[in-house]
Amino acid sequence: MLKQIEGSRAMAEAIALARPEVICAYPITPQTHIVEGLGEMVRTGALTNCEFINVESEFAALSVAIGASAAGARAYTATASQGLLYMAEAVYNASGLGLPIVMTLGNRAIGAPINIWNDHSDAMSMRDAGWVQLFAETNQEAADLHIQAFRLAEQLSMPVMVCVDGFILTHAVERTDIPPQADVDAFLPPYEPVQVLDPKEPISIGAMVGPNAFTEVRYLQHHKQNQALELIPRLAAEFRQRFGRQSGGLLRTYRAEDAELLVVAMGSVNGTIKDVIDEMRASGARVGLVTLVTFRPLPIAALRNVLGSVPHIVVLEKSLAVGMGGPLANDLDSALRNLVAAPHIHSAVAGLGGRPITKASLHRLFRAALDGGWEGTHFLDLNEAIVEGEISRMREKRRSGPTAESILRQLARKSGPAAAVSGSQL
């Protein structure tokens, strides 16, 4: 049924359709509306056979989900930012134990400085933790990915993180189709665990493993993730057949034919990029897009297939590995390793801590890439005057004080009367 609803509500309804049996919730912006919605559905009886557990921390939220999953229940939780960091140990435990928990990550920056807005730093912090990580482009896809995520997680017995841009998607109200329960039931059978803690047939889960077997356990975890590379496209195809729309999969291309430049990006910014590509194509530029849905496991073969023969790639990402650059650009570089005529990769970091990524800035960025591009990491819309001022201020004296506070003071001084505007605007 088509509804005009908030992204968080759409996800809550989709998650409820997946019939979770245990939901562990701890509030943190911007995912809170999702678990609030689910809590309300449990309270009113719209979602039955489900235990909604208010826990005391994110660490507890995932730990309870681990226990529930090991006991054979379909388990769900959600978090963001610092909340994900606080549950980090349990994140690795869930995947190491092979438990098919589904978790929503309402993508948000990580402090300090504290920032509640969107970027992908939180997802990146757990990219090597052994979870499948899927990124939603729209609220429709965010809802649909959760239905696919339970099936994927349970079929392979491993946890799946659905990454959804905080605020930009979680708090956006847009048209979303919520499928009928019967269709979801047909797509997602009841959970049949690979391993289960059952008093009637006692086993132990979580053995200590020494040097004699640890490599093999890890190898098999890696092997299982790579199996997801085959299963994810199959599930997306089956989903499309049943629900009539494309959601999920490894990656999607947009106007990639005969492209001289392909942009690679994850999440909601893909929509804005598509609008920019349409405008640039209209003026003759050969620009296209690769939307990466599955970030972990990294679909190396699919990426080599679509990107291997293009001259230029812009990797646009909402995260920064401090001291290295863009982590997704780095991954792309490794995916395209040893190609005979490897594309030039131009790395751009954008949208950190919720800075809007505008069409105007993307036009400039893509144009620069078509004109030969750049080396190293480009920070989109970096305020260079502020940065240079701060660097010289810090040079002046040892006790120069905290950077964040200093920059805020500089900005406050500069924002006097509203700047003059021109052109067709008032």
């Binding site: 605020f167 930009i168 956006a172 109200v173 893909n270 929509g271 509203a418 505007v421 067709s424």
Partner: protein, 190 residues
């Protein structure tokens, strides 16, 4: 695509207004995207929300930089926030006030817009009369429908009723209709 930016203060239902507008447009059979800006959601702090309306899927995720319409829920913001930033030359302006646009020193701005595109509505007064609370958003949505004819008043009313079932919703629907009528009558008179 038609883009609306709503300025108000925390507690005035700024975010809800954008949501209700998007629901009304959705019920009109159109695509709509409503989203708030974040960070200062304290009561009384300046808040901005956005709504895009189009006949096709809306993919754009940037904030609304060049609005076709600016709705000002609280005229005291005019002194502290550049609410008109990027407003298109053929755009609309709707200000909640019981003063005139001249009283608010907006004559120069109004002169740049097409005749009749800049309007005032005493939405807080209307809300106090019908809803008995100073929440101007429903009245402003009714006025918006009257001014732009972009969404139908019926669907604005349905959106309000869906969000606020019962007496509160009905009172807000009356406020919206009252503002709509006030604006239509003024337009005919003009």
């Amino acid at each position: 695509m038609f883009q609306v930016r709503i300025h108000g203060r925390g507690g005035q239902g700024v975010v809800t207004a954008a949501e209700l507008l998007s629901v009304a447009a959705f019920r009109d059979g159109r695509h709509a995207q409503a989203f708030p800006s974040f960070g200062s959601e304290r009561t009384g702090a300046p808040v901005v929300s956005f709504c895009r309306i189009d006949d096709k899927e809306i993919r754009l995720r940037e904030p609304i930089l060049e609005p076709d319409c600016v709705i000002v829920q609280d005229a005291t913001l005019l002194k502290s926030v550049d609410v008109f930033q990027g407003l298109k030359l053929d755009g609309y302006l709707l200000v909640n006030t019981n003063k005139t646009l001249a009283d608010l020193h907006l004559d120069k701005l109004v002169a740049k817009l097409p005749a009749g595109h800049a309007r005032i509505v005493a939405a807080t007064e209307i809300a106090l009369r019908h809803v008995r609370r100073p929440v101007p958003n429903a009245a402003l949505l009714g006025a918006f429908a009257g001014l732009t004819q972009l969404v139908s008043l019926d669907h604005v009313a349905e959106a309000i009723r869906e969000k606020f079932p019962g007496q509160v919703g009905e009172a807000n629907v009356i406020a919206a209709k009252s503002a709509y009528d006030a604006l239509r009558i003024e337009q005919v008179a003009a």
